[in-house]
Amino acid sequence: MNRVLPVLTVLAGIVVIWYAAAIWMNSTWVFDQANRAGTPVSWAEVIPQTMTQDRPLLPPPHQVGAELWKGLFGQAITSKRSLVYHGYVTFKGTMMGFGLGILAGVLLAMAIVRFRVMDMSVMPWAIISQTIPIVALAPMIITLSSQMGLSGRDLPKAVIAAYLSFFPVLVSMVKGLRAPDQMQLDLLKTYGASEMATFLKLRLPASMPYFFASLKVAVAASLVGTIVGELPTGAIEGLGARMLIGSQFGEPLIMWAALFAAAILAGLLILVVGFVERLARKRMGVPA
């Protein structure tokens, strides 16, 4: 209860501000209509009309909630209008990108910690890679993959997601693999331990807390990457495509519902990663 209460308080605050903003933004349309008809309206009449518009500038929470409910539970999950369906497409892309990103991040970190030349050559490029806006890069990756004869968007989407998610893993793992101090390294030296043994028995386990801390950031980055990968024209599946359709066809409700579906997906992913982290910490003897 102690942890839930602050969250609920903030949530309530957001809802209040949201409703106020919705009334303010959507009232413009109501006043315009009234002006055109030549019938003056009072605020008491305006407020109910800001709550039920088909294409509101800012949909109020209950409208978004209803649309979200309809998208999630209102139809068969195989329907092209089901947010479960689109959410699954995005989830699949996110997981592929996440896996690819972890692999790339860990392997690069191992190479960087092991070889000084990799540290000097690769690390700066890894940092530069993150300064390029992914929105600019995503269409190029998709064009490139179709140029290479790859049908479907699964792989380019995963690559875009991995492009964002490898970085936090890389930075954390470099730090983690370098975490053991000189004394711990000396200790293994007195045992005549091989480089492989030093890596497996010391560096790798010592890096695990850093690794798990980076996973939460990486999974969120991967989701963002996947959604960006679904935005460029031509995409018809995934939450990103839903958002684009909503905005292009002037259907703010669709857009907002997709946005919230993405937020829910992100929350679930972070919960799962947090759960895995707790299991790992328990196994590694961290005091509860």
């Binding site: 004394m183 293994l188 010592a206």
Partner: protein
């Protein structure tokens, strides 16, 4: 196994570290013979090279010139033959391993069989009086117990030489007294050769058969004292005449080293 056979021999040992502020003479013309079964303490102010010398024996540092042999071999060769266990100032137990898991670490690396790992772990846990704590994680143990576990880890693979670098420096005096007694018991039971770095005069005199007094800038040996104290040493031996005389000589040696600054 005959006593008085040299286990560690240093002849004209020099070690110069190249630092940003220029070369530092860490060891100068160190000559020392340590026999089998000796308990040798190295005492001196910081910077006198006592830890550096211990690290040279363990092949963690390499002398610039001079000859150093361990069991008649170079330190590197001796290390490959698992000649020594090393105990650092901090216990340095892996927090992700249990106490037993930490003691198993060198055994795993050296390729002991699973059954032998278990057997040896049990044995050394008993030796350092930590029986029954094998399944605990390091954070569940006090500082003194953690250091005992790290001694057990160094004993696990049965090296003849135990090198201890200020192992009790971070512990309070009461715990330190207890552990000193235990180390003496351990030494009597196992007959190991022990190299022990400390900057506590009573600790050095209480434990050692040989006390090596060192002084800094450049790091060198100023006195080597063969202790006349008997092997059997109750804690109250520290109030005896002989003990006080040796402690006095050590203190004089340390002061002499400092005067030359």
């Amino acid at each position: 196994m005959s006593l008085d056979r040299p286990v560690i021999e240093a002849k004209g040992l020099d070690l110069v570290f190249q630092t940003a502020d220029g070369p530092v003479q860490a060891l100068q013309d160190v000559n020392l013979t340590i026999n089998r079964g000796d308990f040798v303490s190295f005492i001196g102010p910081s910077g006198c090279g006592k830890t550096t010398f211990l690290r040279c024996i363990a092949a963690l540092e390499h002398p610039t010139s001079g000859v150093l042999t361990v069991n008649g071999m170079t330190p590197d060769e001796a290390r490959k033959q698992r000649a020594y266990g090393y105990v650092f100032q901090a216990a340095g137990l892996y927090p992700w391993r249990t106490i037993a898991g930490n003691i198993r670490l060198p055994l795993e690396i050296m390729g002991f069989s699973r059954a032998e790992q278990e057997e040896r772990t049990e044995r050394v846990l008993e030796l350092v009086e930590l029986k029954g704590f094998g399944k605990k994680f390091p954070w569940q143990l006090s500082g003194g117990m953690q250091q005992r576990a790290s001694i057990a880890r160094a004993l696990a693979f049965d090296a003849d030489i135990l090198l201890m670098d200020e192992p009790f420096g971070a512990l309070d005096e009461i715990v330190r007294d207890r552990l000193n007694e235990e180390v003496l018991k351990l030494w009597a039971r196992t007959g190991k050769t022990i190299g022990f770095v400390t900057h506590s005069i009573p600790e050095a005199v209480y434990l050692s058969t040989k006390i090596v007094v060192m002084s800094p800038r450049p790091g060198r040996i100023t006195d080597v004292i063969d202790s006349p104290l008997p092997k059997e040493r109750p804690l109250d031996i520290r109030d005896s005449r002989e003990f006080i005389e040796i402690a006095h000589r050590v203190r004089e040696g340390l002061r002499a080293g400092h005067h030359e600054d």
